[in-house]
Every structure is written in structure tokens, then in C-alpha cells.
């Protein structure tokens, strides 16, 4: 039921009138809520121009706080992605291994780190680095954030990779074996290239999760990323908490929106290319990855195993 308009008939005169009434009622409710919020904000002087002006007029908010913060966010996210992607791919393929002595330990590692909240991994990493290594205390938060994100997200990515490979039609494996390919060739030249297209939506929502989770480091570990800057900004520009949080949230939304748009562009491109070469992609299951699982969630029907990867 992809076209949701099957849920209702093309509106006739009565239905149109009713829709207008509902639209009106909904707008009134929305306006009341907005009025209450604005009233509250005005009462507490959060609407005063001086609270919002710095973001438009004073370049120093950007050059001294927001942009360095954004750089910190992107640095932690990029490092985590660069480490977690290959590690996750390796773990995912390892879990599909024919050898039980690879499959079982890898499975245990993946399941363990997926079950633990990423924040706890970060807390643990901070203290472990302080106790057992001589990493300087000023870079320790970065190390802890990246460690936590890598451990958690590599195991989630491993599951995405595994589900993506399992979602390919069995005939692909059979055909590759029939023409005498070895296991390594089967994986690298037949299964993985196709699975990447299937996995892309889930993989990208996982990248969005990584970007968002860096904020944990700012709030709880003192890593100087974007969200960490809220306190210094409000301290310097007169208790404009709501304005600052709004601006910071908008930057996150923008970054994640760019990430998602890039991915859907890439996906469209890869899909049209696939059609050109005549490669078969099981459309059903590809769609499953996109929709039933929802954002960053993979439902893998074949193994009856499913998982959720959305996090803070």
C-alpha cells in the first residue's frame, strides 16, 4: 500500500468541506500551542532580540564556538565511521563464515556490544584509558567517544552487512559456485557489490546515528563538540539557552539532512546502474530494509533475526 491515498476516496463536496473544518481545527490547536509557547518564552525574556541577534550579527559566536564545535563533532564522527565501517564489514562477513571457530566468537562479540548502551561504553572507555594508558587527559574524551561509538556501531554495521548479504537471492551464490568461484571471489565479486546497494539506506541511517551520538561526548564526557558549546555561549551572550540550543539543533539537523540526501542520491545512481548491467536485486527485501525496519533498522526475515540500531 505505497500510495496511501487508497485509504480514502477522492474527496467530494462534503468530504472537502469536512477537510476544511479539520484543517481549521488543527490550525487552531497548533496556534494555541504556539501562542502558549511564545507567551512563556516572552515571559522569561527568551524572545528578546539580544538573545537571538548574536547568531546573526556577531561573527565570533560562529568562529569561536559553533564552528570549532562542529569541527569536533565531524572529527569524532569521521574517525568513528572510518574505523567502524571496515571493522563492521569484517565482523559481518566473519559471522557468515563456514568455520564455527570464527562464526561463534564473532557472533558473541557482536551481540554483546549491541546490547550495551553506547554511553556505558564511553564511560568505561574513559576510565579504562585513564587507568591503563598514558593518553593525555585533554584528548582522552575524544578517544573515549570514538571507542564507544566504534564498538557499538561496528557491531550494528556487522548485522546490517550480514542481513544485506543474506537478503540476496540464493541463486547468486549457487551460480557463482557453479562457475567454479572460490569463497573469497564469491564474496568480493558477487555478493558484496550487490549487498552494498541493499544496505545503503540502513548504513546511512547508522551514520546519522553516529553523528548524533557524538553529542553524548559533549554532554557527559566534556568532549568539545558542537553541543558542548551551549554552555560557554549562554555564559557569554546572556543566558540565551533556548536560542543557543535551537541553533545547535538546527546545525545537527542540517548535517544529517545533507548526509541523508547524499545517500538517496547515491542510492538512486547505484540502482539505475544495476539495471543497466542486468544484475538482479531482490527488490522486495531491499524495500524491507528501507521501510519495515524503519530508520537504521534491519529486519532479516531469513534468519528470523532482527535488530534495532537507532540510538541516542
Amino acid at each position: 500500500m505505497n500510495n496511501l491515498s487508497v485509504l480514502y476516496d477522492t474527496p467530494g463536496p462534503r468530504a472537502r468541506r469536512r477537510n476544511v473544518v479539520f484543517t481549521g481545527l488543527f490550525l487552531i490547536v497548533l496556534a494555541l500551542v504556539a501562542w502558549w509557547v511564545l507567551q512563556k518564552m516572552a515571559d522569561h525574556h527568551q524572545l528578546d532580540a539580544e538573545k537571538w541577534n548574536p547568531f546573526v550579527e556577531d561573527g565570533r559566536v560562529w568562529t569561536e564556538f559553533l564552528l570549532p564545535g562542529l569541527e569536533g563533532t565531524l572529527k569524532a564522527a569521521a574517525l568513528s565511521i572510518a574505523i567502524a565501517l571496515p571493522l563492521g564489514a569484517a565482523l559481518g562477513i566473519g559471522r557468515l563464515s563456514d568455520h564455527a571457530w570464527i562464526r561463534i566468537p564473532v557472533g558473541a562479540v557482536v551481540e554483546f556490544f549491541r546490547a550495551i548502551p553506547v554511553l556505558m561504553l564511553m564511560f568505561f572507555a574513559t576510565q579504562a584509558y585513564a587507568e591503563f594508558t598514558d593518553i593525555e587527559s585533554d584528548v582522552r574524551p575524544l578517544y573515549a567517544v570514538v571507542t564507544g561509538l566504534v564498538l557499538y556501531n561496528a557491531s550494528v554495521i556487522a548485522e546490517i552487512v550480514r542481513a544485506g548479504i543474506l537478503s540476496l537471492p540464493r541463486g547468486q551464490t549457487d551460480a557463482a559456485k557453479a562457475i567454479g568461484m572460490r569463497k573469497g571471489q564469491l564474496m568480493t565479486s558477487v555478493l558484496l557489490p550487490q549487498a552494498v546497494t541493499v544496505m545503503l539506506p540502513a548504513l546511512v541511517s547508522q551514520l546519522v546515528v553516529i553523528v548524533k551520538d557524538t553529542a553524548l561526548g559533549g554532554a557527559l564526557l566534556g568532549y568539545e563538540e558542537l553541543f558542548f558549546q551551549v554552555r560557554p555561549i549562554t555564559a557569554n551572550y546572556g543566558a540565551n539557552t533556548i536560542a543557543t540550543i535551537t541553533v545547535v539543533a538546527l546545525i545537527y539537523i542540517l548535517v544529517n539532512f545533507l548526509l541523508t540526501s547524499f545517500a538517496s542520491w547515491l542510492e538512486r545512481k547505484m540502482r539505475s546502474r544495476k539495471k543497466g548491467t542486468g544484475a538482479v536485486l531482490s527488490v522486495d527485501q531491499a524495500d524491507q530494509l528501507e521501510t519495515v525496519g524503519g530508520p537504521s533498522m534491519v529486519t532479516d526475515r531469513q534468519s528470523g533475526h532482527s535488530q534495532g540500531g537507532f540510538s541516542a
Binding site: 500510495n3 474527496p11 479539520f22 546490547a115 557527559l220 540550543i245 545547535v248 521501510t291 529486519t299
Partner: protein, 222 residues
Amino acid sequence: MFDFLEGYDLLAAFWTTVQLALYSAIGSLIWGTILAAMRVSPVPVMRVFGTAYVNLMRNTPLTIVLLFTSLGLNQTLEVDLFGGESDAVNFQLAVLGLTAYTATFVCESLRAGINTVPVGQAEAARALGLSFTQVLFLVVLPQAFRAVIAPLANVLIALTKNTTVAAAISVAEAAALMKEMIEMESHAIFLVFAVFAFGFVALTLPTGLLLGWVAKRAAVKR
């Protein structure tokens, strides 16, 4: 070996975690269903609102959502929900934030569930003369819910893990206690970590297994 546990109320911390997860789960199920209904409704304004809410909220870090409830709503605007001691208020704020955030994921799962219902079902219902509300709540949503139990179980598991972020607004749940213990009992950090890891595995694993079993039994056989 486990004598470092003395003096800490582990059970109380995990009980707070469970309560946070339960209240937020109920809240986000309700709010998420309303959002999903809005997103498929014939009224364009509601559709736009639903879409905008989901896309904005989903791309905002949960940390920011929770800290906004605390720093923005509570400390700046002096909203204190149902009131009470500051611990109780923080707890309510955490439930509010978790609900607002998790509802978007419930909404998206439900919408995907609606997609699994065959078009003929809605067409047949319309042919019988049912209105949009009747089609949605009597025919489509009941089937959609049965299809999305497994994805919703994943949302619940993720929510349980996400409750740890409430530590950022000083709710005394498991992650907050772990941070304290790992700093105080630094000779036993691996054991502390193991204890809390075990706690979360014990919370999430049965949820996943139970709801997975329910999902298999409830799925509409087609």
C-alpha cells in the same frame, strides 16, 4: 569478589531505568500512533505537520532533546510538569523527552506496517462505504500493528538503552550509577562494567525473545 557492590543501590538504579523505559514506551506508542495517523490522513496540514515533526526530531540528537527539556523547559521557562521534588521533575522531563524522540520511530515503523497491508483491504473497506477513520482504525491499523510487533520490539530495546542518556539530566538511573561506581571503584572497573553490561543484557534479551515470539504468533498469514 563482588564486595565493591556494597554501599550502592544497584536494584534501585535499574528499577529507575525500567520505569523510564516503560512510561516512555507507553507515551511514545500513543503519540507515535497519532503521528502515523496524521501522516496518512486526507488533511494536508496534518500530513505536513507529521512529516516535519518526524524529520526534525529524528535528526536531532536525543541528548539535545533531553537537555532541552531540562535546561530549556524546566530551568529557563520554569515548566515543571506534574511538579514534586527535583528528582521527580527530572524523571518526568526525561520521560517527556524520550517520548517526543521515540514516538518518531514508532510512527515510522507503523507507517511501514501500513505499507504491508494489501491495497485490496483498504479498497474493499472503502467499497463497503467506510469512512477514512473507519478504514484506518478498523481495517488497516489492526493488521499493521500485528505486522510491526518485531520492529516495535526493536524500538523498545533501543529505548531501553537510550534511557541511559537521562543521566545527562541527573536522573539516578543505571548509567549514572555506573559512572559514579567506575570512578570510585577504579580497581574493579572491568567488574563494574560487566555487572552493568549483564544488567542491560538481562533487560533487553528477554524483551527481544518474548516480543519476537509474539510477533511470529501475531503476524497475519498471507
